[in-house]
């Protein structure tokens, strides 16, 4: 009796197997070309429209043209000395996910950065916090931008600062900072504030 019930359950489970896709994203082709190193309101060059070519190579401070750029998100530098390595790792992962959310940027997988760092410094692995190291690694992995984030303690509060560096222009695109308490939960909120500031500029 038990065997029969078990076999029917197994049969039912097979027939009603859990469907669903976990690796196929709902992606669409972009409708137009995006001029790079050029920002002009509506942005893209429409197919068949040659008049928009005139806007090329103009520069402004908006973030429209940055959307979709490949960003290398480096480990958060904890100058406050309050965070454990696993907390830094978790916060960096969270930051990278927030950066990629909604297609704001493409984030170069962190494993790729780690691999390059290990290749470069196979004997003495040290954190790549200084800008020259990050630029070098960023270029090696063909990223378009790097995101440097620092947590510093000032008085009783902690300040999180982030700088987005354009590797092609060799200049900082945007910076954002947020001040708050030094607890891990508060730092998560500050990271969210920083991403909101970047997104705010994008609109």
């Amino acid at each position: 009796m038990i065997g029969r019930i078990a076999s029917y359950l197994l049969l039912a489970a097979n027939l009603a197997a859990c469907g669903g896709l976990s690796h196929i994203p709902d992606v669409r082709s972009e409708p137009d070309w995006r001029p790079l190193a050029a920002v002009s309101g509506s942005g893209g060059m429409k197919t068949g429209d040659t008049s928009t070519i005139a806007v090329k190579n103009t520069v402004s401070g908006g973030m429209t043209a940055m959307r979709g750029a490949f960003v290398a998100v480096f480990d958060i530098e904890d100058k406050s000395g309050r965070l454990s390595p696993s907390e830094i790792d978790g916060l960096t992962d969270y930051l990278a996910n927030k950066v990629a959310e909604g297609g704001l940027f493409h984030v170069v997988p962190r494993d790729e950065i780690k691999k390059r760092l290990l290749l470069q410094k196979s004997k003495s692995f040290k954190k790549c916090y200084d800008q020259s190291c990050q630029i070098e690694i960023g270029r090696e992995i063909a990223a378009q931008k790097t995101l440097t984030t620092t947590i510093s303690r000032i008085g009783s509060s902690c300040v999180v600062t982030a700088a987005l560096f354009d590797l092609r222009k060799a200049a900082t695109d945007a910076t954002a900072s947020s001040r708050g308490k030094c607890g891990t939960d508060e730092l998560v909120t500050q990271i969210e504030n920083i991403i909101a500031k970047f997104r705010g500029r994008q609109k």
């Binding site: 097979n14 197997a17 896709l21 690796h23 070309w33």
Partner: protein, 206 residues
């Protein structure tokens, strides 16, 4: 009846999807697709193809009868070189001329592969999905550059999925991607060239 039910269950669980327990390495042969598009041949070179996928180890997965991942699909060549050769040959078929990277007059193309994956959806039946999502950057000799992301998704149903079905779906998704990417790149180059070398406006005569 009890034994029949057990036998059918075992077949569904183990025997029918037995091949889903073994990893497969696919050989993808892309059939030429593009016809001649470019009237004025331009020199081009593919300077970089980067693999930006989160999981660069595999190009797909297999699933068992319960819908769980049971094995991986691999490509028999590095994805970046396979992708590069497909795009290069299709651009040549479209009428563009391949140049050396050091050729200053050539249009430079960069490709960033974001998604390239095959995944079956196992429910009452099996449907195999494949996605190719990659960004193309075109850099002109005058310094201007444009980027655009293209996506190709394909799916089809099957009763029993073989490696051939996986290959067919990813090649189909790649075909959609190539059709868009090569066609739109050709139009971009054509428009850019026309604008750059445009003659003065027409004069009315008479």
């Amino acid at each position: 009846m009890k034994y029949a039910a057990i036998l059918i269950s075992l077949c569904l669980t183990l025997v029918l999807p037995a091949c889903t327990l073994i990893d497969s390495t696919l050989t993808l042969k892309f059939e030429p697709l593009t016809g001649k598009i470019s009237a004025a041949p331009s020199l081009f070179t593919i300077t970089r193809v980067s693999d930006r996928r989160a999981d660069q180890r595999r190009i797909g997965c297999k699933k068992n009868g319960l819908g769980s991942e049971s094995a991986d699909l691999f490509l028999d060549a590095p994805l970046t070189s396979w992708f590069s050769s497909v795009v290069k040959s299709e651009l040549e078929r479209a009428g563009f001329l391949s140049a050396k990277p050091q050729d200053a007059g050539a249009i430079r193309m960069e490709i960033d592969i974001i998604d390239f994956f095959i995944e079956p959806d196992v429910g009452m039946g099996i449907r195999v999905y494949a996605v190719v999502n990659a960004e193309v950057t075109v850099r002109f000799p005058d310094g201007s550059a444009y980027a655009r992301r293209f996506a190709g998704i394909s799916n089809d149903s099957a009763i029993v999925v073989t490696d051939g079905d996986y290959s067919e779906q990813i090649l189909s998704a790649m075909s959609f991607w190539v059709q868009q990417a090569v066609g739109e790149t050709a139009r971009l180059i054509s428009n850019h060239t026309a604008a750059a070398g445009a003659a003065p406006a027409w004069r009315t005569v008479g």
